[in-house]
């Protein structure tokens, strides 16, 4: 369908590329000082689009706005109501939201270094460059009105850990494949796991897995500057501000690398292999990225042959969790299931499955279908890396390291917040109890019960249970941003001061 053809000149680049070769990156959190100067800067800023080039670019620039930032730029009330409610409220303003995300106790937003209640930035500028080129690139983007326009609140620096995250595990291996050609037509019930996701799950203005258009701001045709925006495909007489845009979720996660490895070693005794086995069980992959569940022979749509050893697997062959524990990080983040209960059935048994009858275990139908809850990750590590031995032997300098977690989604609540709340932080995930994600869990008791366990099912029956997991990750900052299309940015740049 030509109506769904994507104009890549409109889409900001990180929706399509991870910029893996641009290993230097910095993320600037800004407040807008002068609205007109900011608009002028936006009008001329060299924002990278998603057009594929012969050679990888040397640099990239992306721009995103918080709800406060958009208000400051003067968007209309009509447009304001088109943004999702969680975006408008922000990540840190409501205790109810913080409860869902697990941002309590040491992770509470009041203690964040950026993005806490009342301290949300207006904008985030993402700067990427090939090694050695970042400083020059920063200077280039900061000519023309920069000083007048913006105040830099915080500068999130990043480090190149060569494909590994600070604990030492290969990261970023599993990403959904976006259906840029809009070839996928999901039926009401999908019976097989697929890594191909409807474009509308990540890019606004296209159909999502429900076959519908996620809510986004649309403006009337006769409103000022609306001609800069494309028509809204699901509403006649309206222009689509959100089309080709997305929501960007950012969370700065400080990682206690020494604490993690020391705990792993202490839990198993002195054997370093057993320590690595426990750590891998918590993640669900070995340190070099091999999934514990083991590869399967049949290909998975959306998983390329090159990444088959890391990604061509599901958990259908591991229904007892003896290979990859049920609570392991990657099994929580992506259960690789489809719409029907596991294990798959046929014929009459399958018909019974549709109405919840027939053979079931506690875990058969305990998780939602993952195709409605995928995220596209674009995070970058920060801090100086430290080796496992260095961490255990206390050779650290007291500096912090971690991950600026970033993901792109069209529906923050259904995708990111669901994943974080219902799967990662839940101590009742997958019909289990007393354990939340071994890496991310905040270890806070729930209704008087602990959440700091980690269980590894065994063939012999009795689980191997590790208890008293300390907190390994502390949330230090976060925010919900909107990543507009290039047309939408031109629209923002052209806004006169609007009546709110």
């Amino acid at each position: 369908m030509t109506t769904h053809e994507v104009d890549f000149r409109e889409v900001q680049g990180i929706l399509r590329f991870g910029y893996g070769r641009l290993t230097e990156a910095v993320f600037l959190l800004l407040n807008i000082r002068d609205i007109n100067a900011a608009r002028q800067w936006l009008a001329t800023a060299p924002i990278s689009n998603a057009v594929a080039c012969e050679t990888a670019p040397l640099t990239a620039l992306q721009v995103a706005f918080t709800a406060q930032g958009l208000l400051r730029l003067g968007i209309s009330k009509e447009m304001w109501s088109g943004f999702s409610i969680e975006f408008r409220m922000g990540m840190s303003a409501e205790p109810g939201r913080s409860r869902i995300l697990g941002d309590v106790d040491a992770n509470a937003p009041q203690q964040w270094t950026w993005g806490g209640p009342g301290r949300e930035p207006h904008m985030m500028i993402l700067l990427y460059a090939q090694p050695g080129k970042l400083n020059e690139w920063i200077k280039t983007t900061q000519e023309e009105q920069w000083e007048n326009a913006f105040e830099v609140l915080s500068s999130l620096s990043t480090s190149d850990m060569e494909g590994k995250e600070p604990f030492g595990f290969a990261d970023g291996l599993s990403q959904p494949t976006l259906d840029w050609e809009s070839a996928k037509r999901p039926s009401t019930t999908e019976t097989e796991y697929s890594n191909v996701c409807c474009l509308g799950e990540f890019v606004l203005g296209y159909p999502n897995e429900y076959g519908r258009y996620t809510d986004r701001p649309i403006v009337k045709e006769d409103s000022p500057s609306s001609s800069l925006l494309p028509p809204a495909l699901d509403a006649t007489g309206m222009r689509d501000f959100g089309k080709n845009g997305s929501y960007l979720v950012v969370r700065t996660l400080e990682q206690d690398v020494a604490g993690f490895w020391r705990f792993a070693q202490k839990s198993v005794g002195i054997d370093s292999n057993a320590r690595d086995t426990l750590a891998s069980a918590m993640v669900g992959r070995t340190r070099d990225g091999m999934p514990l569940a083991g590869m399967r022979p049949e290909p998975i749509p959306g998983v390329e042959a090159a990444s088959a050893p890391q990604n061509q697997f599901t958990f259908d062959e591991d229904l007892k969790g003896t290979r990859c524990p049920f609570g392991a990080h990657i099994r929580r983040a992506n259960p690789r299931n489809a719409d029907l209960p596991t294990p798959p059935a046929h014929g009459f048994e399958k018909a019974l499955q549709y109405v919840g009858l027939g053979k079931r275990t506690l875990q058969s139908d305990a998780k939602a279908s993952v195709r409605f809850h995928r995220i596209l990750r674009r995070g970058r590590e920060y801090g100086t890396p430290i080796s496992v031995e260095g961490a255990i032997n206390n050779k650290e300098d007291g500096s912090s390291r971690g991950l600026h977690f970033m993901c792109l989604v069209a529906n923050i609540s259904r995708q990111f917040e669901f994943l974080q709340g219902a799967w990662m932080m839940s101590s009742k995930f997958d019909a289990m109890t007393d354990e939340s994600d071994p890496l991310l869990g905040n270890r806070q008791p729930v209704s008087g019960a602990v959440t700091d366990r980690f269980s590894q099912p065994q063939d012999s029956g009795v689980c191997h249970c590790t208890t008293g997991l300390p907190r390994f990750i502390t949330v230090k900052g976060g925010g919900y941003f909107f990543l507009p299309s290039l047309s939408a940015i031109r629209y923002l740049a052209s806004l006169k001061v609007a009546e709110i």
């Binding site: 869902i100 506690l362 139908d365 191997h464």
Partner: protein, 433 residues
């Protein structure tokens, strides 16, 4: 086993006393969404058979939408509702209610029309009952005592298994089972654990249940020719409704959503109540009653042990008609966040939602009743939020224990009370700990 009963007492609130009733209810909480168990009005934890309870003011928050069907928007009463789920019969509970919470209930119902100081409380409550058109119970006959004892059992065995996991993992299955059984016997003898044997199922309940089991298919059989005659008329009417019903496109009230989010997710289990008006028309109303009648039958006889079709996260649910069927209250207790609950419903039992809710004003358009409807995901979620009531006070007798946990605990107990037949089954049982 002792089957559970649900109760719901509703009385219209005197409009001038609404604010004071709200203040009184609010005083029963220690924090938003968290009840104060020591509150002077209702001693929740004194009731040993009370699973869940709610005190709320029921009103149609989307009353303005009634205008699209030319229904009056004003003049509809708001109700004060006391509802909950107990073990055993409602009549027995009512007596206990009056005995333990009489003065508190009087002070609450004094805000309602039709209640006078001289009234006998028990009779007033009995006459204020509103019966559910359909009722779902996750596990018929699982008493609160059983849930408490089995949770204590799981914790004790789990703790023991963790402390001795190295040796237990090496034991042959039969020996493993024997040592856990031994532990149970010792703990029971020492008074640390109890496993009260289930009471005999009351004969009157068994008779009523059996009669209901036969009655519904019997009626269907007898009415079959009539139903077949009505079917094409119904289908034509259905398509006409689906095509011509005026759409209601509500904007999301962010203040209301924020209020709801403040009281949610303080525990792993949440309560949920929505109230709305039904579209007018005799055929619509009758078909709604018919579908709810079938839903009740399915819940009683098919989905009475562990799941409502594919959804296993609901503890209790009910559909309650108000005002002679003009308006409907749907109320449930479920595990997890509302987002996960609604998604589960759309994906797993969307057809069920469409069948039972599509007659509500504002529900997204269905297609042949079963299709579309809630699959317009964002509209559906918005409509639900719009009609959702910020329940003023709610009580959970066993917080922190999900429906899946309760099921697991029962399986652990069952595997101990009768030895599993083979080694493989013992291993499966041991994995539950």
């Amino acid at each position: 086993m002792t089957p559970q009963s649900s109760f719901l007492y509703a009385a219209p609130v005197v409009p001038e006393k609404l604010q004071s009733l709200r203040a009184l209810l609010s005083s029963m909480n220690q924090a938003p969404g968290i009840v104060d168990l020591a509150n002077p009005i209702f001693p929740f934890s004194d009731f040993e058979t009370l699973h869940f309870a709610r005190l709320l003011i029921v009103s149609d928050l989307a009353a303005a939408d009634r205008a699209v069907f030319h229904l009056p928007v004003q003049g509809l009463p708001d109700y004060f509702v006391l509802m909950g789920e107990v073990d055993g019969e409602e009549t027995a509970f009512r007596n206990e209610l009056v005995r333990r919470a009489g003065p508190g209930l009087r002070s609450l119902f004094s805000h309602c029309a039709g209640f006078r100081e001289a009234d006998e409380l028990s009779r007033f409550l009995a006459s204020s009952q509103v019966k559910a058109a359909a009722l779902y119970v996750n596990w018929v006959g699982r008493t609160l005592l059983q849930e408490r004892e089995e949770e204590a059992l799981r914790r004790a065995l789990s703790e023991y298994a963790r402390q001795h996991q190295d040796s237990l993992q090496k034991m042959p299955p039969q020996q493993l089972w024997a040592s856990m059984r031994d532990l149970l016997d010792k703990q029971v003898a020492a008074g640390e654990l109890r496993l009260t044997p289930p009471a005999a199922t009351p004969l009157s309940w068994r008779v009523r249940n059996f009669l209901n089991l036969l009655w519904v298919p019997f009626v269907l059989l007898v009415l079959a020719p009539v139903l077949l005659l009505i079917l094409p008329i119904y289908l034509l009417a259905l398509r006409s409704w689906e095509t011509n019903d005026p759409g209601v496109v509500p904007a999301l009230d962010s203040a209301h959503a924020a209020e709801l989010e403040t009281i949610e997710n303080t525990d792993v289990t949440n309560q949920f109540s929505v109230f709305g008006s039904l579209k007018p028309g005799a055929l619509r109303r009758w078909s709604m009653r018919f579908f709810l009648w079938l839903t009740d039958y399915a819940a009683r006889h098919i989905f009475n042990r562990g799941g409502l079709a594919r959804v296993s996260t609901i503890h209790f649910a009910r559909w309650v008609p108000f005002d002679g069927g003009d308006r409907m209250l749907f109320s449930s207790i479920y595990d997890g966040s509302l987002e996960s609950y609604m998604d589960d419903f759309i994906n797993k039992v969307g057809y069920g939602l469409n069948i039972t809710f599509s007659n509500g004003i504002g529900y997204p358009r269905t297609h042949w009743l079963i299709g579309e409807g809630c699959r317009d995901e964002q509209t559906f979620k918005r409509v639900l939020r719009r009609h959702q009531l910020a329940t003023e006070v709610w009580y959970n007798a066993l917080p922190g224990v999900t429906a899946a946990n309760k099921h697991r605990n029962s399986m652990i107990r069952a595997g101990l009370e009768s030895r599993p037949t083979d080694d493989e089954k013992i291993r499966e049982w041991a994995a539950l700990l």
